[in-house]
């Protein structure tokens, strides 16, 4: 309270740079450091071909992490996503191979299966008050078992070229450039619309040169990304899924009442309830989302491997949780960002990819990944403490 009084006395000088999320920038910095580190040890790491692979590899973890963030923010956990990936992948393969369904039907049914599984789990957590840890731990075993049952423990190959394209196709160079141009235009338009709207309300806006610099830097990054991808085979198809889903869910998380309510529930469930928020419905919907996202991840994975196996998706839930945590999501609930989780997924995948390129033995890879996870949270907690002191 004493501190507040003094801050008030200072002239209200708005930060020139607007709101900068220091945490997000730290994570991006860490990611770049990892890339430079591996790039120096092995020059193929930063080649267009490897980066393209890296992005494709990370897509499944990233998609799962997007859903996981919101579940963790609300104060729950979902341990079943890996098994849902396996199960819905199996469903997709059966529909495509054994039953010869067209791709569109396969996609639709798979998504439906994922959402349904999520709905059941969500209902148990939200309306029957069984802890999410237990429901999804049970789910993890049940779905893995169901996968073994429906596939009769065999590997089902996919022959439908359209389906396989979901996981392994590339956009042509021209289309990539068009996409990039569209993204840049959308970026400029939305930024300027926001500025205009803020000005109409009489709020301060960050200075135009700063805003423009920021826009040009981001545009340049988009361009560099597209050009790099184009110099190999083009933008990998799965990456578009990740980007689209990240945008959609970031929007849901930050701009909609649903997202706001989820953060409120995670921050203080009692206060949220007494503010008229329907806790149960929101909680159930979160699990529907993770089920749906797991099914999307399953489509990408099955297509990329062009087969469904009984071990598909095993341990993916842990990768997704680790990605969220590295990306700054608090397991206590209430805070976490989608973009952070995506960066977290990139860190995890970069470590995997980099260490494999260096020919590190598998046991070392596990030890390093585990240590990085703990280290990331350690640094995070230490820096938060310093801030509050």
């Amino acid at each position: 309270m004493e501190i507040k009084a003094v801050i008030e006395q200072q002239p209200k000088k708005k930060n020139v740079f607007g709101k900068i999320d220091i945490r997000a920038y730290t994570m991006i910095g860490a990611l770049i450091a990892i890339w430079i580190f591996f790039g120096m040890l092995n020059e193929t790491f930063l080649s267009a071909r490897n980066l393209s692979n890296l992005f494709t590899q990370m897509s499944v973890t990233a998609i799962l992490a997007i859903g996981m963030v919101l579940v963790i923010v609300a104060g729950h956990i979902d341990l079943s996503v890996g098994s849902i990936v396996g199960l819905t992948g199996g469903v997709a393969a059966i529909l495509s191979n054994w039953m010869g369904m067209p791709t569109s039907v396969v996609i639709l049914c798979t998504l439906l299966a994922g959402a349904l599984v999520g709905l059941v789990q969500g209902w148990l957590v939200a309306y029957r008050a069984i802890p999410a840890f237990i429901v999804t731990l049970g789910g993890m075993m049940i779905f893995r078992g169901a996968l073994m049952g429906i596939t009769k423990s065999t590997t089902i190959p996919i022959f439908d070229a359209q389906f396989i394209a979901l996981g392994s196709a590339y956009f042509t160079d021209v289309f990539g450039i068009i996409l990039a141009a569209m993204a840049v235009v959308a970026l400029f338009v939305s930024t300027f619309r926001k500025r205009k709207s803020r000005q109409q309300y009489g709020f301060t806006v960050s200075p135009l040169p700063f805003e423009l610099t920021k826009l040009f830097v981001i545009s340049a990054l988009i361009l560099v990304f597209v050009v790099t991808m184009n110099s190999y085979k083009g933008i990998p198809f799965p990456i578009i899924f990740v980007i689209a889903l990240a945008l959609i869910f970031s929007f849901i998380a930050t701009k909609t009442t649903f997202g706001r309510h989820v953060y409120a529930i995670g921050g203080n469930v009692e206060a949220a309830r007494l503010s008229g928020i329907n806790i149960q419905l929101h909680t159930m919907m979160l699990f529907v989302f993770t089920g749906l996202l797991s099914a999307i991840a399953a489509l990408v994975l099955t297509a990329r491997l062009s087969s469904a196996t009984i071990s598909a998706g095993q341990m993916y839930e842990l990768d997704a949780i680790a990605a969220c945590v590295i990306g700054g999501t608090s397991l206590m609930g209430g805070s976490g960002t989608i973009i952070g989780a995506i960066i977290g997924a990139m860190v995890m995948t970069s470590l995997d990819n980099g260490m494999s390129l260096l020919g590190m033995e598998t046991f070392w890879q596990y030890i390093v990944k585990g240590s990085i996870l703990i280290l990331a949270v350690w640094i995070d907690i230490a820096s938060r403490k310093r801030k509050t002191n």
Partner: protein
């Protein structure tokens, strides 16, 4: 200047300083929280420490209790005349200092006995001697007038009882210097009596008590000396016999308070709330918490609900708001229409708002910022197709910050970092934004400073003038008397008396609440 400690004479024992804090200065980045504060407490005296929230009382006590270790502040602490330096809380405890925090620090899932001896369990070869622990715990409980079993879990106790357990815990440490930070904020009148008795006993035993309180009658009843802090400075140390309430309050705020309760006569409108034959059942046990309640509240009226802790006032409010788990019977009419409120959403839709008694646990999301908390209950009004208009959000929350004079660095400041009074203003803003017809306030000014209290009273009057019906639950009798147009007194779940503003006195309310005649 001779140090009083060394003036030994035959009667000198009483005049020795148990504690001397000399020129204590504590700085936080950019702000001096304490500025050369001097504070001395004699043995066997109750020394009240008064000041508005933010005056530096808590900071001073944190320095004393070792929470801010030696080296993080300037100045000297002496106990019984000897300089001491505390590296942590354990050091301070070993020097005989025990603190009873304003915020309860008990482990909810543990028993009363386990809490009293937490960290100091009687042991033999490392094995806890449970019989001894519970036996001793019981004797300490008796001292604070609690007749509960020491094997009761904390979470099944009311806030008042928990506060008494805290006090028993501090007593069990056999402290020479006892710090009580707003100990009566959650106590009922009879519990306050017990506490006063205990403190008088401790004084006779030579314990030095530091008593932090906003409540002037208590301070003047108990304290031997009063030290007033303002803006991190020690303003004055007064002997109780030579001062009066008005002087102390004036020193605290630095201005004369002419009217402490700005009561205004209001013109009443139509009946907004009518509760008929309303009963609320306990959420687990087959018993009624509220029985056959009849209440009316008119537009523009402030209705006070008085009663002791446990009279069922909070449960009634929660039940009317659709937030109590127990079943309710009877009729609720809002503006002439019968309503069936089954959830908080129903209540908000029908125009009811409830400012809960425990703002940190029930009212706010402490990690979220001012604007998010402000708009939380009325996001619908500033959203289209579920998408929040963030400019509208800024506009509305800024409006309420200005209107309620909430002191916050920005709209993006986490509410957990605000002072109690400002947190309460954010809760009020949240419910004002929902535009209620009926505003229920449960202990609206608990634990907040005089200035903020006064502002909240004015706000209540303003809302009433605008035609809002206000129902105020309060355990502070002067507040009930000073603000209400009409007063209902509750005892054991029933309305036992109804009084108009002019009829009501402390005596007749207390009489009805305690069941005396």
């Amino acid at each position: 200047m001779p140090d009083p400690y060394f003036q030994h004479d035959t009667t000198g024992v009483k005049r020795m300083y148990a504690l001397e804090m000399i020129n204590i200065t504590k700085e936080f980045p950019g702000v001096k929280a304490l500025d050369r504060v001097s504070f001395k407490v004699k043995k066997g005296e109750i020394h009240a420490l008064c000041g508005e929230n933010g005056a530096g009382k808590s900071t001073l006590m944190k320095v004393l209790s070792g929470l801010y270790p030696t080296g993080t502040y300037d100045g000297e602490i002496r106990i019984d005349g000897k300089p001491v330096s505390f590296r942590n809380i354990v050091d301070a405890e070993q020097a005989g200092i025990a603190i009873i925090h304003q915020e309860l620090a008990l482990v909810k899932e543990m028993t009363v006995g386990e809490n009293i001896f937490l960290g100091r369990e009687p042991r033999k070869f490392g094995v806890i001697q449970w019989d001894q622990l519970y036996y001793e715990a019981e004797t300490w409980l008796k001292k604070v007038g609690l007749t509960i079993s020491p094997q009761t879990k904390i979470h099944s106790l009311g806030i008042g009882q928990q506060q008494l357990v805290e006090i028993a815990k501090a007593l069990a440490k056999q402290a020479n210097i006892l710090i009580l930070d707003e100990p009566t904020a959650a106590l009922t009148e009879s519990e306050v009596e017990i506490l006063m008795g205990i403190l008088e006993q401790l004084r006779a035993q030579g314990v030095a008590c530091i008593y932090i309180s906003h409540k002037m009658p208590e301070v003047f009843r108990l304290a031997d000396s009063i030290t007033v802090l303002r803006d991190g400075k020690s303003i004055a140390t007064l002997s109780r016999a030579e001062t009066n309430e008005d002087e102390v309050v004036a020193l605290m705020v630095g201005r004369e308070l002419t009217e402490r309760y700005p009561y205004v006569k209001k013109t009443l409108g139509h009946v907004v709330l009518e509760v008929k034959n309303y009963s609320v059942w306990h959420k687990e046990k087959p018993m009624k918490i509220n029985d056959s309640i009849h209440i009316t509240v008119r537009a523009g009226e402030i209705v006070g609900i008085a009663g002791l802790m446990g009279a069922g006032r909070t449960e009634l409010a929660m039940s009317l708001f659709g937030a109590y788990e127990g079943k309710a019977e009877g009729q609720v009419w809002l503006e002439g229409k019968q309503v069936h409120i089954r959830s908080v959403q129903d209540a908000i839709r029908s125009g009811i708002a409830l400012v809960t008694e425990d703002r940190k646990r029930l009212g706010l999301i402490l990690g979220m910022d001012v604007k998010t908390n402000t708009t939380l209950a009325s996001l619908k009004n500033i959203s289209r197709l579920q998408v929040i208009n963030q400019n509208e959000e800024l506009k509305w929350s800024q409006k309420y910050v200005d209107e309620l004079k909430t002191k916050t660095a920005s709209l993006e400041t986490a509410v957990g970092t605000l002072s109690g009074g400002n947190q309460q203003k954010v809760v009020l803003a949240k419910w004002l934004m929902a535009k209620p017809k009926l505003l229920i306030l449960d202990e609206p000014t608990r634990g907040i400073d005089v200035g903020a209290k006064y502002e909240i009273y004015h706000l209540m009057n303003k809302l009433a003038k605008e035609g809002v019906a206000i129902m105020m639950i309060s355990s502070e009798l002067p507040e009930i008397l000073g603000m209400s147009d009409r007063i209902y007194v509750m005892r054991e779940g029933r309305i036992v008396k109804q009084l108009s503003h002019d009829e009501a006195t402390q005596e007749n309310i207390m009489m009805a609440a305690t069941g005396g005649e």
